[in-house]
Structures are given as C-alpha cells and as structure tokens.
C-alpha cells in the first residue's frame, strides 16, 4: 500500500483503518472527491439518507445499538448546517459520532463562496471538538485523533471540515498505530479513598437507592454486567433515567422502573426518601431532580461520572468519584467483597416493605376503553407480542416516548434509542434506520407520534431503497400530545396550535414510498394488526389511531419536588392517603 495518496483516498483509508463498516451520508459539490473514492471500494458501505439530519440520527442509532462510533459524510454549507440538530442531540446524549463535512477550497475560505459556511464556527458549541484541516499532510492523523476524542472519556460528536483542495492534494498517509496519541486522556480509575467511603456507606445504609443513567450504557456491556452484580448482591433497589434503561433488566428483582418527570411513583418517592443515593452515570438532569431545594433532602449522595464537570454542577454530592463506570464499579465490588459483603439487612427489609407499599398505588394503571385504543394499551400489546424477540426500540419525542419508557421492558443495554437531553422530534425514524443497518436481522421498532414522525418522514426513501424492515409504530392522536397535555394542565386548556389538521393518510403514504401501511383503530383488531406488521418482511408504517386526549401520568410538574407527583385519574383515590402526594 502506498503511503502517498490524495486527501480523498486518505479519508476512506482512515475510516477503514478505524474499523468503520458503514457511513451515512449525502453528496454535494464539496465532497465529490471523497464520493469518488467511496465509489471505487467495497470495504465501507455508504447509506444514502434523504436529509443530513437523518444521516446524523441514523449514525446515532448505529452508535447506540453497537457501541461503535457512527460516521457521517456530508457536503459544505447546507449539508453541514442540516447536521447541526443531530450534532447537538449527540452532544446532549454523549453519543460518539464522527462527522466529515466538505468545505470550499482553502483559497476561497472567507470569500462567501458558493455553499460556504463557517462550519467549525457553527458547530463549535455542538461538538465535543472539531477541526478544519487545511493541509493534506495533517488529514489522516486528524481523522484518527477525531475517533479517539469521540470515543474516549465522555463520548460525543466530533466534526472534521475538509476543504475540497485538501481532498484533491497528495499527502502521506499515517496509520492509526503511528499517530501520536494526544494529551487527551481522561481519567478512568476512580479515587480509592472515596470508593472505600462509598462502600462503608453501602454497608450501613438503611434506605439506599441506585440511580443510574446513560453513562452505564456508554461505559460498555461490562459496566452493565458489574452493575447487575452489585445491585443483586447488595439487594438495593434500582431506578434509572430515560437514558439508562436496559443497563439493569426490567425483569430484575430490584428494578423499580424509570424515575423523573414521568417516572414511576415508587421510584420517585424512593429517591425522595432515601438515605443513600448512588448515582451511577447520570447527571441530575432537571427532568430528574424537579425542584432542586427539595431534591432528596435526607440522603448522602455518591456520584460516579467520567466527566468532572457533571459533579456538583446542580446537586452537591458527598462522595464524588470521577472515573469510568466499569472501572469504578469493579473497584467498588472488589472493596465491598473484601470487607465481607456487608449490608444493613434490617434497614433494607423495612425499606423494601415501604417500597412495596408505594408500588400498591399502581401508578401506571389507566382506564381501559373498548371504543378506542388507549396508547398505553397499544404499547402493552406491542410489549407482549415482541418482548421475547431480538428487539431494538427507538422513539420520537412526546407522550408516546414516555409511555414507551413506562410500558416497554428493556432486558439489555443498547436496545433503547431515544432522544433524551435535546428531546428532538424527528430523531426516532432515522435512528431506527441506523439501528436496522447495524442489525439487519433484528426487529427494529420506532414508537412514534404522528407529528414527530412527519419531521423526518423523507427517510422512508432510505428504508425502502436499502430494504430495511423498520417498523414505524405511530401512536396517532392527531395532536402534539405532550404540548396539548401541558396546555391542558398549565394553560387553562387553551390548545394553541397543538393539533395537526391535514394529516396524511399514512397507509397511502407508505404505499407511495413502496412500503406497507397498516391502519388500526379498533382495540379488537390490535393484536392481529401488530402481528401483521411483525410478519411483514419490509418497512411498515403502522397508523395506530389512539385516544386523542389521553394524558401521560405520573407527572411531576416542572419546578415541583418528587413528592408532589400528579397521578392519573384512576389512582386518585388510592394515592390520597399517601404522604405528600398532591393530586390534580
């Protein structure tokens, strides 16, 4: 293999050497030399999306379901600006993504050339790091460094802007192994003194809780394994953020369900009442904490996070441990075992008894209906009919997303792709495309709202072109449901612009793209319709007409503490007695 090659060839070579098998992209003038090289090789598969935002979300889906970085190739100007939402989404959720953008030739930069945009300037705040490569000699090393930065420490999106003349020019290719590692080497081992302090707290805690997040998933399957071992060995209850679902199995003994704004009653009350909170790879997000000055007032708090800036950002913690979750949990287990595997059994028994009482409230109960499909019912049926399959779930953003988190169970990490931090409507469909590309033989379902789904519906073209049998399970309430719910509860039922007129006929829409469409509006037909969707070997749009004004409960209104949770109408009666719960 020659060391001398064009910048364009270098890009492809560097991707191959980084173990990349798939690139999501969209061509244009400023990346034509790279596309020419993509054309002349077979090692890397290029998936032509229909919009650059779709490319980034697809790469996110790929990354989250495989643990490998997702790669995107787009052109300058509008190609790059279209990628911005995806980059921000990946930054908020710490997803490793490498985006390559074309740029106008170096000698035209700054001249307002055709399709010129200050891509590194625009994307500086929405990437973990970015580079403008002005010299072909630097190109391959920069790409290798970009993969290192995207995947080490707290993962995140990076971007490399490559002017067209740099793609044409010749330079020397450097292999990854020959590329000097930069000074960027985040700390992975936790401080042993604090770890020992945490173990001592574990030994004596009366009301402990594990509060886990996306960091466990990002740390890799080993971290989930260690978490399961620690949780099961201590017998402590565990809850998770939206981002962390699947790290501990939903069928596990200690599982309490998701916490937070639409989290389970028992999980939130346990967070409120615990005396030891062990935060593992979560970040005290405002959807989790509610009102800060009333957040878990009586607990000592430990926080394990690879990013020092997450520590003490919003909540002061007593035991900060900076390090990789896998490494730290391994040390916690080691020390805890060496000290005799002690827990406060008496306290724990009482604590579980209390938790069981909270569970009696049955906060996910809803009023069934025979005349219309309740969204909760649709998801319960989807769960029942798919839970034993090799299944990946994506979602859009809105009520359906929260219901999916509540009513679907996740047994393993990397099986759940949802836009948490940014809450990006339009994320789920392209993400499901990326997941299906990575797992061609698995069942990939995107639980969607009709409004979110329409935001990136052009990706039907991608699904059909690449024969990706993604199932688009649309809970169609003909409303911007989550917005409508807030307007109902907080804005005097003034439904300002929260419904869509002129929705498409989704069945015809599917057919127009050459896919299958299924309409279901009668609860009696639901199971058969879902089976029809599952049995179809190809992409399906499932238009599930659901109850239009259903609300998503439980709900902690913004700015309220955990114990001021609103429960659905059904549980109203049961919950009145329980301390602190204020109801609508």
């Amino acid at each position: 293999m020659t060391r001398e090659m064009t910048g364009a060839k270098m890009v492809v070579q560097a991707l191959i050497d980084q173990g990349v098998d798939t690139v999501f992209g969209y061509p244009g003038g400023a990346v034509l030399p790279i596309y020419d090289e993509v054309f002349q090789q077979n090692a890397i598969r290029h998936i032509l999306v229909r919009h650059e935002q779709g490319a980034v979300h697809a790469a996110e889906g790929y990354a989250r379901s495989t643990g490998k970085p997702g790669v995107v190739l787009v052109t300058s100007g509008p190609g790059a600006t279209n990628a911005v939402t995806g980059l921000t989404d990946a930054l908020m959720d710490s997803i490793p993504i490498v985006v390559l953008t074309g740029q106008v030739p170096t000698f035209m930069i700054g001249s307002d050339a055709f399709q010129e945009a200050d891509t590194v300037g625009i994307t500086r705040p929405c990437t973990k790091h970015n580079w403008l490569v002005k010299d072909t000699e630097r190109l391959s090393a920069t790409i290798h460094e970009a993969f290192h930065v995207a995947t080490s420490g707290r993962p995140g999106p990076v971007l490399i802007d490559i002017p067209k003349d740099v793609q044409f020019a010749n330079g020397t290719y450097t292999q990854p192994s020959k590329t000097p590692v930069g000074h960027y080497q985040p700390q992975v081992k936790g401080d042993m003194e604090t770890i020992t302090e945490l173990v001592a707290a574990i030994e004596s805690a009366q009301r402990p809780i594990f509060y886990t997040g996306g960091g466990v998933i990002n740390s890799g399957p080993g971290a989930s394994q260690l978490l399961r071992e620690l949780v099961d060995a201590t017998g402590f209850p565990i809850t998770s953020t939206l981002m962390g679902l699947g790290a501990y199995p939903a069928s596990g003994k200690a599982w309490m369900g998701m916490l937070g704004m639409h989290g389970l009653y028992e999980a939130n009350l346990a967070m409120h009442g615990c005396d030891l909170m062990i935060n593992v790879g979560a970040r005290f997000d405002d959807r989790i904490t509610g009102r800060l000055d009333a957040f878990s007032p009586k607990s000592r708090k430990a926080h394990i996070d690879i990013d020092p800036s997450s520590i003490n950002k919003v909540i002061h913690v007593d035991m900060p441990i900076v390090g990789d979750i896998g490494h730290v949990l391994e040390d916690v287990l080691k020390v805890w075992k060496a000290r005799g595997r002690k827990v406060n059994s008496e306290g724990l028994t009482k604590w579980w008894r209390q938790i069981e009482q909270w569970k009696q409230v049955d906060c996910l109960k809803y009023t069934p209906s025979e005349g219309s499909i309740k969204p909760q019912h649709a998801l319960s049926r989807l769960e029942a009919l798919t839970k034993d399959r090799d299944r990946y779930i994506c979602t859009e953003v809105g009520q359906h997303q929260m219901w999916a988190a509540q009513y679907l169970g996740f047994e393993d990490p990397n099986r759940w792709m949802t836009s948490g931090g940014l809450g990006t409507m339009g994320y789920g469909f392209p993400a499901s495309v990326g997941v299906q590309v990575a797992h061609p033989d698995s069942l990939v379902i995107n639980v969607a709202g009709e409004a979110s789904w329409l935001m990136n519906m052009q990706e039907m073209g991608t699904a059909v072109q690449y024969r990706l049998p993604v199932k688009q399970f649309i809970l169609n309430n003909e409303r911007l449901g989550m917005v409508r719910q807030w307007q109902e509860l907080l804005h005097g039922e003034r439904y300002s612009h929260s419904w869509s007129e002129a929705l498409p006929d989704f069945v015809k829409l599917a057919e127009a793209f050459g896919a299958k469409g299924i309409l279901c509006k009668d609860p009696a037909d639901l199971d058969d319709a879902i089976m029809e969707m599952l049995d179809h070997d190809g992409p399906v749009i499932f238009d599930c007409l659901v109850e239009k004004h259903e609300n998503c409960f439980p709900m902690i209104p913004s700015g309220e503490p955990h114990n001021k949770m609103l429960l659905g109408e059904v549980s109203l009666k049961d919950a009145i007695g329980s301390k602190g719960a204020v109801l609508v």
Partner: protein
C-alpha cells in the same frame, strides 16, 4: 507552578471542599489555562463563557512555549464557589486545554497589567499629570506640546487608581492589556 496542581480531569485537589458548599458569595478568581496554540482555541474558551453565562473581567492570551506551541490564557472571572468550580471543570473538558490552574486558591500569586494613557493638558494640569505619573512610576512613552502617553504597569487596582487621577487632568484614551499572572515561589 504551585504545589497544588489541579490536574485536568480530577477534582481531588480542589480547594472547593474547604469552602462552604453552594454559598451565594461572589468571589473573584484568576485562572491560568494552558492550551494548544491552534486555530479557534480562544473562540472555544470565550464561547464557553458566553454560552454558559459566566463572567470575564479580563482575558489575555499569548503563546508562551514556541516549541511546544502552548499558549497561556489568563482569565479573571467572578462567581459563587460552585460557579467557579464549574468554570474550571468546563475549561478542563475543552480538548486542546492541557491544564487549568486557579491561582487564587493555589497560593500567593502576582498579577500585573500594562496600560497606556493619553492625557491632553496645558500649564498647571500638564505639570500635575507629570508629577502624578512620577509617583506612580509611569513612564512617558510619547509627548507633544499638548499631550503625553504614559505607560504604567501594576496590579489592576493601581491602574484604576491612576486612571481616576488622570481623568480631571485631561485623560483622552486608555488601552489596557488585561491581567497576566504567575504564582509566587516555586
């Protein structure tokens, strides 16, 4: 630098724990940030402060190691202890940042700024300006029959004080470099 190295990515040696948590008291801190001298690095630092709503009272930057291409950014900022800790941690996340030093908590340090003052004056006022400049050990680096340019180095407070005195004497323009700072001793 000082004995208390705050290594990037570690919160172990933070003096944060010595102060009350989440206090409302605003403190002024001088930070020294060592960065790769590459395109856009200053924009990253400034963008961080602007984007997260932190204050910059003063900021200076120049390459200090020509072989290693390292620049030193000196930032004077204000905030509650919690905000100051966040600023340092956030700076540490920037990939080309090598080290973040909080000179204010790491021990005694010296802080200097250079300023140029253009003062217009005739007769008594001109004599008075010269006399005060002498007291402040300011140098005259330009003079015409109706103006002087004084050069003054010192702590920011000294420069402020000199500016206050020059104002009634015909101060026309001031140029300040911002603060450069180093810890004392080794």
């Amino acid at each position: 630098m000082s004995a208390l190295h705050i290594k990037k990515g570690s919160n172990k040696h933070s003096a944060y724990n010595l102060r009350p948590n989440f206090s409302d008291v605003t403190e002024k801190h001088t930070l020294a940030v060592l960065v790769d001298n590459e395109a856009g690095v200053l924009a990253r630092v400034i963008g961080l402060f602007a984007g997260r709503g932190y204050n910059i009272e003063s900021l200076t930057v120049a390459e200090v190691d020509h072989t290693g291409h390292l620049s030193r950014i000196t930032i004077v900022t204000t905030g509650t202890p919690q905000v100051i800790e966040q600023i340092k941690a956030q700076l540490g996340r920037i990939v080309p940042v090598h080290e973040v030093h909080d000179l204010t908590v790491e021990g005694p340090f010296v802080e200097r700024e250079l300023a140029l003052f253009k003062v217009e004056g005739h007769g008594e006022k001109r004599v008075e300006a010269l006399r005060l400049a002498d007291i402040f050990r300011a140098n005259v680096v330009d003079s015409t029959l109706e103006s002087f340019v004084f050069q003054l180095t010192g702590a920011p407070e000294k420069i402020d004080a000199f500016a206050d005195l020059m104002r009634p004497l015909g101060l026309l323009e001031v140029a300040r470099t911002g603060v450069a700072a180093l810890s004392r001793g080794i």
